[in-house]
Amino acid sequence: MFRNNYDNDAVTFSPQGRIFQVEYAQEAVKQGSVVVGLVNKTHSVLVGLKRNAEELSSYQKKIIEVDSHMGIAIAGLASDARVVSNFMKQQSLSSRMTYGRPIPVDRIVTQIADRAQTNTQQYGKRPYGVGLLVAGVDEAGPHLFEFQPSGMIHEMLACAIGARSQMARTYLERHLDEIESSSRDELITHGLRALKETLSQDKELTVDNTSVGVVGLAGEGAKGKIESFKLYEGQQLLPLLETVEQQDSGETKEGEGMEVDS
């Protein structure tokens, strides 16, 4: 009865000016588990919540290192993300090979955006079912980009995509000033706390279901000019999660203290 005639392919506009296949692809991103990204003046951080398909299976990888100066966090179809990340890895290597320099972050993000846009304009193709957060450093400093299946890209100060990501975005908006002036470790903590906001009541962040990626400019006296992309998983996360834990319990105590005072 109410069959939609304008969603059979990704190249046809509806009379309202919408392309339904692209919007459906964006729904796939919303189904993916949440990832958060944020930048300060020196670093760019990615934080992701990993899901396992069943109790006995491993967790789906959420953060992928593309090159030593860049990584991506994915929300949506993991297999599409692999295709995109393989392309990004190839482009990164090609830049290092032909020019001897790490590829500028905005350059490679524009390249994947162009590919994604092609998929929305050529008959017989389908949009990527994945959204990305791209974190990297180049000569202009640390960057965070959001990439959507429609081919839209935005440079962000902080961003979250995936299921229940609105909660994380609210957290990021509230703490934006603190984030901008934070240190490297504070930045990671803010990322984890934003991620924590999105969890349902019965869930919590563990070393198994959390993933953190950090890349940034190297501090003074460091060997290179950049701090290479580092992925924190498993036991390496313990100190990071503990910091979040301590801060949260500290805040509750403070809250109680204030109640007594009043």
Binding site: M97, T98, Y99, G100, R101, P104, D106, R107, D138, E139, A140, K225
Partner: protein, 260 residues
């Protein structure tokens, strides 16, 4: 007159004998890539404290003929990189167009990620190597001068085979034989680059070009010189070698006018 245009305008066989048709061969391997046609001679360059100086004369020869005397063989790329070309001039112009298009593409970038001299040298060496592997080489030997990623003076060479090397002073072509010994004497290995001033470097280059003008029969006394510092590139294209003295020629047998 007959109906065979390929025979029109040729010397008549009955008068001059049969034409040597091997010159008209249309089959067989391509050979025009195997030697340069119009060529530029040496490029000379020296690193100094805070920059690099590079120079080349303004001549393009057609074999031993001094064909073009106002060819600029130093090409500025971006804010602070200069490429000096020796070898085939048409291939130089091709690479020039290549660099032009890269420069335009690079400047689309909104952030400050621009190619430095080191990146440029890596790229050009790959282009040379690709073309020699296709058996269609770009017949040049280039020097790239500028700064590397750490803002240190950079000077490196790449040739038609894709071979690369670098050094505190370099020269291509005849200069590799005539100018490098002079530069080695003026700036010995133990003398750090920090002790070489811009004026030292420039006068050394002028000295080298003068010796090349005396002894390289494919050279010219009109030259271009570029000085690359933090502040940018200072390029002078219509310079003339001053204070020439040909007195030495008198005593060299086979050089000047000789009385046997």
């Amino acid at each position: 007159m007959n109906h065979f245009p390929e025979l029109w305008g040729r010397p008549r066989d009955d008068v001059y004998g049969p034409y040597n048709s091997s010159y008209l061969k249309s089959t067989g391997p391509k050979t025009h890539t195997q030697s340069p046609a119009v060529t530029g001679t040496s490029v000379v360059a020296v690193k100094f404290n805070g920059g690099v100086a590079i120079a080349a004369d303004n001549l393009a020869s057609y074999g031993s003929l001094s064909r073009f005397t106002d060819v600029k063989r130093l090409r500025v790329f971006g804010e602070s990189a200069v490429v000096g070309f020796s070898g085939d001039v048409s291939d130089m112009q091709y690479i020039d167009r290549l660099l032009e298009s890269i420069d335009i593409r690079e400047n689309y970038s909104t952030h400050g990620n621009l190619l430095n001299a080191k990146n440029l040298h890596t790229y050009l060496s790959k282009v040379f190597y690709k073309r020699r592997s296709d058996f269609n080489p770009l017949w040049n030997h280039i020097l790239v001068a500028g700064f590397d990623g750490d803002k240190k003076p950079f000077l490196s060479s790449a040739d038609l085979l894709g071979t690369t090397y670098s050094g505190p002073h370099l020269a291509t072509g005849f200069g590799a034989h005539l100018a490098v010994p002079i530069l080695r004497r003026l700036f010995p290995e133990e003398k750090p680059i920090e002790e070489i001033t811009k004026e030292d470097a420039v006068s050394a280059l002028r000295e080298c070009l003068k010796v090349l003008w005396y002894r390289d029969a494919r050279s010219l006394d009109k030259y271009s010189i570029a000085i690359i510092t933090e502040d940018g590139v200072e390029l002078n294209e219509d310079q003339k070698l001053e204070e020439q003295s040909w007195a030495f020629a008198e005593s060299i047998k086979g050089y000047g006018a000789q009385v046997v």
